[in-house]
């Protein structure tokens, strides 16, 4: 049963900043990039890196996520020894509690980790879009003999105060960690990806649990505690594409990055494939009168109208005379005849009624923003949803 390295994927977050998109599902289950879900990225990175044992810590609205992960077969993670395991909070002899924080989630599953007796544990989160070889990060961790390695990337100085910022010495030893500092001393941002030596991590998780004042959070508690005790902590520098898709704007941006050749997000490149659960749909059908320009289009789409600079996910439909621009149609979304969708995210299986108008072009005025319609929503014919507004399944409309 022993594994040198296993991964623990924190997928319990509610994703409240995705608002209507996460009313009924956890953030990692949110569709991305036309045919994927956010969690496909860390799971595929694991399998591509040769990590065959992954614990997925779930808590908020896990139904969608659990059935999506299933046996793990799409990511080649259906293994006799190891594989993917869903780990919800559970009841024990001494009582039961929800996961209080990221560190507590793993603390509550110390028994699971111990089963595999790993030397290293990779801690991942379920809200980032990126391709990364964790094996390379673990190799650096081993070479350095570190207790903890944190992957970092350089961000523009002007944005550094939005991130957890690491200060390092000349050998990339982490000397200081500051969560969203007002005056950042470095522009190396933590990507929320950690490698720990399990024996050390175990020690700190137990100590943290015994501290009633702790928030039981990796960034707020565990990392500062380890730094305070002088543990060897190293930065792992990452230079590829990475985006946190925890907000509606960043989710829209990351989808649009598929259209921007310079963005670095290339899902068609085959060296590091992203896997997802198989979807049975025929090839996309672009009709005689269709006009699709500069877009990403997935299987099952039927286009009779017009699309420009958009992401058309699996089995989405644009009827004759309808037009979609700078928008994301999530799987199964339908835009009926004569409807207009601009700068918007249309949720899964939502139907935009005939001649409805969703969102509007940014015309340089202040206050424009992405318009969002939640999943499974029936937008009536002729309905007008202004820019920067949200509409949910129960037809509740709010300004963002």
């Amino acid at each position: 049963m022993k594994k040198e390295c296993i991964a623990m994927l924190l997928a319990g977050g509610q994703g409240s900043r995705l608002y209507v998109l996460t009313e009924n599902m956890a953030k990692p289950a949110v569709p991305f990039g036309g045919k994927f879900r956010i969690i496909d990225f860390p799971l595929s990175n694991c399998t591509n890196a040769g990590i065959d044992t992954v614990g997925v810590l779930t808590q908020y609205r896990p139904l969608e996520l659990n059935s999506y992960i299933g046996s793990g077969q799409p990511w080649d993670l259906d293994r006799d020894n190891g594989g993917v395991h869903i780990l919800p909070p559970y009841q024990s002899a001494t009582g039961a509690s929800w996961y209080k924080g990221t560190a507590n989630a793993i603390y509550q599953n110390i028994g699971f980790v111990d089963m595999y007796d790993p030397d290293y544990v990779v801690v991942l989160s379920g809200d980032h879009i990126y391709k990364m070889d964790y094996a390379d990060m673990v190799a650096q961790h081993k070479r350095a003999g570190a207790a903890c390695t944190i992957s970092v990337m350089e961000v523009p100085w002007s944005e550094a105060s939005r991130f957890g910022i690491m200060s390092v010495d000349g050998e990339d030893n982490i000397t200081e960690f500051a969560e969203k500092p007002k005056e950042p001393k470095s522009n190396l941002a933590s990507m929320g990806i950690y490698v720990f030596s399990w024996s050390k991590m175990r020690e700190y998780l137990i100590a943290d649990e015994n501290d009633p004042a702790s928030d039981n959070d990796f960034g707020k508690n565990i990392i500062p505690a380890m730094l305070g005790k002088g543990e060897k902590m190293i930065a792992y520098r990452f230079a590829g594409y990475w985006k946190d898709v925890g907000t509606l704007d960043s989710l829209w941006d990351a989808n649009m990055d598929m259209l921007a050749t310079g963005s670095g997000l290339d899902l068609l490149e085959r060296d590091w494939p992203i896997y997802g659960r198989s979807i049975s749909a025929p090839p996309a059908f672009l009709g005689k009168e269709s006009c699709v320009e500069h877009s990403v289009i997935a299987r099952g789409c039927i286009v009779g109208g017009k699309a420009e600079n958009s992401v058309l996910s699996v089995s989405s439909v644009i009827e004759e005379g309808a037009s979609v621009e700078y928008s994301i149609l999530m799987p199964g979304a339908v835009v009926k005849k004569g409807a207009q969708v601009s700068y918007a995210i249309i949720g899964e299986n939502t139907v935009v009624g005939e001649n409805a108008s969703i969102g509007a072009l940014p015309d340089g005025k202040e206050g424009w923003g992405i318009t969002v319609v939640g999943p499974e929503t029936k937008v009536p014919d002729g309905y007008i949803l202004a820019a920067n507004h949200m509409l949910s399944k129960n037809m509740k409309e709010v300004a963002r």
Binding site: G33, G34, K35, F36, Q73, P74, M258, L259, L267, L268, P273, I274, Y275, G276, S278, S280, A281, P282, P283, A284, F285, L286, G287, K288, E289, S290, C291, V292, E293, H294, S295, V296, I297, A298, R299, V311, L312, S313, V314
Partner: protein, 370 residues
Amino acid sequence: MNGLHGIIFSYEKEPGLRELVEHRMPASIPFGGRYRIVDFMLSNMHNAGITDVGVVLHGNYQSLLDHVGNGKTWDMSRKYGGLRMLPPFASNRRYQSEEFRGKMEALAGVRSYLEEIRQDYVVLADSDLIINIPLTKVYEAHLLSGADITCVCTPHYRETEDATFFQLGKDNKVVKTLCDPKKPEGYHCLEIYVLRKELLLKLVDDCAAEEKVSFRRDVLNGMLDALDVRGYVWEGLAAQIRTLKEYYDRSMELLNPAPYLELFAPGRPILAKEDDEAPTYLAPGSKVVNSLIADGCIIEGTVENSILFPGVRIGKGTSVKNSVIFKGVQIEEDASVSYIIADKYVQIRRGGTLTGHENYPMAISKNTVI
């Protein structure tokens, strides 16, 4: 447990399919932008709740084995039963080298498998048929009529090589069978048959004893007096793919919404092996109309009236018209192709021009570089 067991035949070589069968059996010819022809019958069986299927094989079946794998795609990777590939068994040495001359000979080659079938009824089908048919309805009709054999047939004949026809009498009783007649008449037989397992075994033994090899000639025709054979009339889309022209015409039909929506009805999905490709990218300046586009393509040129399989690259300034382009084909910049069928991994270099004809599409063999 469902009462139906599936048998799919894949032994006919169909030389009329020319370049498309150089490296594979007709069953594993790519069709419809992301499928292999056999996916249709396997999916029909899956959608009817059938979990146990035997595929009777002879010939160059490596590509077919690669494609169907353990049958997981159709939920046929089961602890008991599931999908079984059936090359002629070693104990039946006489079938090892020659081709099968007919279904009865093919079945005799796997007789020991037939004996082990757990279900009472068997549905026999060819692997060269494009159809989305609810087989449960055929099965129910068979049980209801009390017929010995129920055969699916269509009143809408479209030119097919070596077709079989029925004349139907009262209660759709087959009163006459015509094999490959000069002039088509009556109902075109789609070679999907439902019958009792016990009857099938008896017919296999009777035919073997008399050196009879053909289901349609020796059973349907030869034993018509002794058997109650009925037609099940199918009004929907159906196409047997036996020549390159048939392949091309039936492919192009999918560019009309009605056949596309019928064949790919969401309630009875056609399932294919996952290609793990990201969605297709249509670059600025590209143009795609009236076409079927699979995942994983990068299109910078113009595509019209065409079908693109996964992972195709179409360069800037290139025009693709009226063509079927298989997986992984690369057509570089400023090329122009029309009425072609490009097999897997064909490469057409910058500036190349290739034109077939509507009546004689040009097929380009796998891996060719032009």
